[in-house]
């Protein structure tokens, strides 16, 4: 029996469901928490925008980012620099998320907002809340995989505890 393709069905096929989106965030956080930095650029589409900025800049409409990458290559460059050229004390980040809201999902483009929370642990130090805020993401399917076309992390954190080393 051949299936009749109507608009409703085709849209349902190309738009990811909530649990697929949840899985993307879980896999993203696991890769970064485990310091599998080399996997990080693969969570993004070839042409992409990744930004970490502050609420002060975001609400004040200031374009500055704390980190900005405008292509997957720039993400790769940041990984290479983090691995090979930057000097910093050893640490781990553990990422938590909550409050997933699917703002819109149509024609294969899903927009979400999601709270993030990053606990940082330095050697011989107690863990601390280093960064928290909200991420505004645009997710699409590319090569049969859900990827970020855009990820903008807006930090509430007013004063960064010295450095921001790994991605959020």
């Amino acid at each position: 029996m051949s299936k009749t393709i109507d608009d409703h069905d085709s849209m349902a096929d190309i738009n990811p469901n909530r649990s697929q989106i949840e899985d993307l965030y879980t896999d993203y956080n696991i890769a970064l928490d485990d310091l599998n930095l080399e996997a990080w650029p693969q969570f993004f589409t070839q042409t992409c925008l990744y930004r970490i900025t502050t609420r002060e800049n975001w609400e004040g409409k200031f374009p500055l980012s704390t980190i900005i990458c405008e292509s997957r290559e720039m993400l790769e460059d940041r990984v290479a620099a983090t691995r090979k050229s930057m000097m910093y004390a050893p640490r781990s980040y553990r990422r938590y998320h909550s409050g997933l809201k699917i703002i819109s999902s149509s024609a294969g483009v899903t927009k979400t907002r999601l709270n993030f929370f990053v606990a940082q642990t330095l050697v011989d130090k107690p863990s601390e809340v280093a960064f928290c805020g909200v991420a505004y993401d645009t997710i699409v399917e590319e090569e049969s995989t859900l990827r970020f076309k855009e990820r903008i992390c807006v930090m509430d954190t007013e004063m960064i505890p010295n450095s921001l080393i790994y991605p959020i």
């Binding site: 290559e73 460059d77 930057m86």
Partner: protein, 413 residues
């Protein structure tokens, strides 16, 4: 004992050599208090902000000079004032927003109201109620406004000082540093691109030293040395003003190349390639050939011109063991879109997540940890000899020696 004790500013003697700095100046709370009084509240101009942050009457920004909270505000006469953010009555730091727009300032505690220029306008129930209570008759509102600091606006930058003795800003800089200052702050209108704020757990002087230290960039910062943005074999200079307190590191960028110098840098990484080199896409925009001009204006700010990335980096001390570091990235108001994008992209190298600058915050934290544990040891600042001079090379610590020559004079060591 006849009671005539010799007057000594500090019971702790400075080491014999001028090119040595004792660890205790980075952690002693008494020395820190003395630095606030003699340096930050003394005869020195401190950075407060950019004039373009408060373009309209009633616009204000809150910040600090040293540890003292102040408000930079454009008052009804159109002039910029810097007043203490401290109610004359009970001392509340009443203004809580980073930026705002106001017709007047009111302390929420007892509703004392101040004009934008700090003048005390209203004291509720000043005469009491039914002739009972109220302020004493001799209370003079004119003498109880918000304390005003002296202000100078110099090519878009707002400077303030608590002291009547501070000379005018140009004299404060000296002619040599004035020329460097006006190369970038040339009078063209500026616009803010945004802010980064970080707390660095290290003594405030270490950040001044870091940017006066022309020996470290090509070594600590692998990113700089690898991509030829700042390396020991490049044309460069280190200059200080007549007092030694201000300084500039000047450099002219090269290319990525393996040569005698780069291969002797253990950290040079010939394998590091940028897949998307737009973050180091440099466009020459000033008349002189230099591509880097890092100015330290004692004691409060670093003025960054690193390729096309421009920022002010304000130092707000928070006790001997730490300081807040506030980055204001800016561009010229008439920059085209491509130049703005270039500045924003290059900003990836700077700030708390900077491919270069993160190294600095981390390394000075490492220094601070040792200083607190070994009070009576000394650091060496002998690269390039023992004198304070302007040099046409990088392998020198002359600008750090300059700052400490001045520091000892002010602090009485």
């Amino acid at each position: 004992m006849d009671g005539a004790m010799p007057v000594s500013e500090s019971p702790r003697p400075w080491p014999q050599a001028a090119s040595r700095v004792p660890y205790w100046i980075y952690s002693d709370p008494d020395i820190y208090s003395s630095e606030m009084e003699k340096i930050f509240y003394g005869p020195h101009w401190c950075y407060v902000g950019l004039e373009c942050e408060i373009p309209e009457v009633g616009n204000y920004k809150t910040t600090s000079v040293g540890e003292r909270a102040v408000i930079m505000v454009r008052a009804d006469d159109g002039e910029v004032y810097v007043v203490e953010n401290r109610c004359a009555h009970r001392g509340a730091q009443f203004c809580r927003d980073k930026f705002g727009q106001a017709k007047e300032f009111a302390c929420p505690y007892h509703q004392w109201v101040y004009a934008l220029d700090g003048e005390l306008m209203g004291v509720p129930f000043r005469r009491g109620v039914k002739r009972k209570g109220g302020m004493p008759k001799e209370f003079d509102p004119k003498a109880n406004g918000l304390k005003r600091l002296r202000v100078e606006i110099v090519n878009g930058v707002v400077w303030a000082t608590f002291s009547e003795e501070t000379p005018d800003f140009r004299s404060y800089l000296g002619e040599r540093m004035w020329a460097h200052y006006t190369r970038v702050y040339d009078g063209r209108p500026l616009k803010v691109l945004g802010y980064n704020r970080q707390h660095i757990p290290a003594n405030w002087k270490l950040m001044m030293e870091n940017i006066k230290d022309s020996y470290h960039p090509g070594l600590l910062h692998v990113f700089f040395s690898t991509f030829g943005l700042f390396r020991a074999d490049q044309e460069s200079a280190t200059e200080v003003d007549e007092t030694g307190r201000h300084g500039i590191l000047i450099s002219r960028k090269g290319e990525k190349e393996a040569n005698d110098v780069s291969t002797s840098i253990r950290s040079f990484d010939a394998d590091l390639e940028l897949a998307d080199p737009r973050i180091i896409d440099y466009h020459h925009e000033w008349p002189t050939p230099q591509t880097v001009g890092m100015i330290t204006i004692f004691p409060s700010v670093i003025l960054q011109q690193q390729t096309n990335s421009l920022s002010t980096r304000q130092i707000l001390p928070k006790g001997p063991g730490g300081f807040d570091f506030i980055w204001t990235h800016w561009g010229y108001k008439d920059d085209d879109e491509a130049m703005t994008q270039r500045r924003l992209r290059q900003a990836n190298l700077f700030g708390p997540a900077g491919l270069v600058s993160a190294d600095d915050g981390e390394i000075i934290e490492f220094s601070q940890q040792a200083f607190e544990a070994y009070q009576n040891r000394e650091t060496m600042i002998e690269m390039g000899g023992h004198d304070v001079e302007c040099t046409d090379y990088m392998i020198t610590e002359t600008a750090i020696r300059g700052m400490y020559a001045y520091y000892r004079q002010v602090m009485g060591f």
